[in-house]
Symmetry: C2
Subunit: 221 residues, 2 copies
Amino acid sequence: MTQVICTVDMVLLTLHEERLKVALLKRDREPFKGVAALPGGFVHTNEDHDVRDAAMRVLKEKTGIDAPYLEQLATFSGAARDPRGWSLSIAHYALVSYEVIDRAGHPDVKLVSVDRSLSLPFDHRLILETAVSRLRSKSQYSSLPCYLAGETFTLPQLQKVYEILMGEPLNKVSFRRKITEMDMLEAIDGEFESAGAHRPAQLYRLKPHFKKQLQLLERGL
Amino acid sequence: MTQVICTVDMVLLTLHEERLKVALLKRDREPFKGVAALPGGFVHTNEDHDVRDAAMRVLKEKTGIDAPYLEQLATFSGAARDPRGWSLSIAHYALVSYEVIDRAGHPDVKLVSVDRSLSLPFDHRLILETAVSRLRSKSQYSSLPCYLAGETFTLPQLQKVYEILMGEPLNKVSFRRKITEMDMLEAIDGEFESAGAHRPAQLYRLKPHFKKQLQLLERGL
DNA sequence: ATAATAGTGTCTGTCAGACACTATCGA
DNA sequence: TCGATAGTGTCTGACAGACACTATTAT
């Protein structure tokens, strides 16, 4: 039994210009030095408590970002995926609003639309597709998309987020019924968002209880 | 960076005596020698193509079983979970009918109801609970439970399987409507199951197309 | 015949989506 | 006043579950 190379890879997703985008970073070492790839790194057994810790550390080191939502995706493995040898990557995905990426302002982070056919090193293409598929699937019946909307948002903004993820327009009345049913938002008293020559929209935020806990629907949207 | 111990653990689930049960094996070496635990083993980079291969190999070696359904569950990791050091286990779960376990006839395999509060070594309790939770969740809206029902089964038998997993009685008419909607079963012509002094039930099997591919419902059962 | 379960036709309450309406802003 | 979007009341068609019925076996 030979050594297994243990790494974590991060799929950092956000919404920008009405598109779902992934954060890519030019690799600073071999293999694939200089090629845009998912941020990743080795598991450090001396400093990481577990692989979730490793994923958060790698994300922070490479992009400067602490993500409000981060979840293990799956483990990708095999003899062929890394030229250095038999390797294994515990892939995670994280969701942030565009503002968080913008504020971090890391010069090497590039946002690329996930719908464009991307050529990525290792099996990062498969990892990315798995992450996007997981996100879209969970968006059908959970509060997950809220983490892409930022700290505060209006209901029309949140509906737009869901629509981009689901790839289809949603019924306004039904959408609001479901959001009410989930009972995860609180109106920010007296705060409205004026976005032009029309009635301003009420601002909402996630109830504190749901900051780290997804809310699920019995039946999807 | 010190060495990471890479293992796979298998959660082998089946139905027996109207209960969901997990297969446990007495450990044949330290740590926890002699204690009942999930079947597990090291990843062998020289013979396993990837961790799925490793999981299938471990299951076959320890229980003699080739499972019709096997899926990666999640990776459990950390410095504390294994006394030998910082370790990582890519947990998988597999579904089989009781007949498969019975036919394999492995003397050391014990079936234990998952609802009993079990004391297990390592973090196997957490792994088991995660697997059961995943299975129950997927049972709501997919054909997954079919793999617990065996090669052929009647609709009343399949409904019973779903009911055990969901923990509640299901409406017969609705259940059959959903099964028809999934369009994954084919009647075995002229084959019926006589189970007493009443009308025999039609035998069904999964359509070949769905042998390795789950069928999903738009809305759950 | 009777008991027991398999399998099906039909009715009804519930709920998602369509539509229409009011509310509130800037110009 | 008008155009635009926010937000809400209501109607209707579709569908899940309840009920009732027929079908088919062993005793």
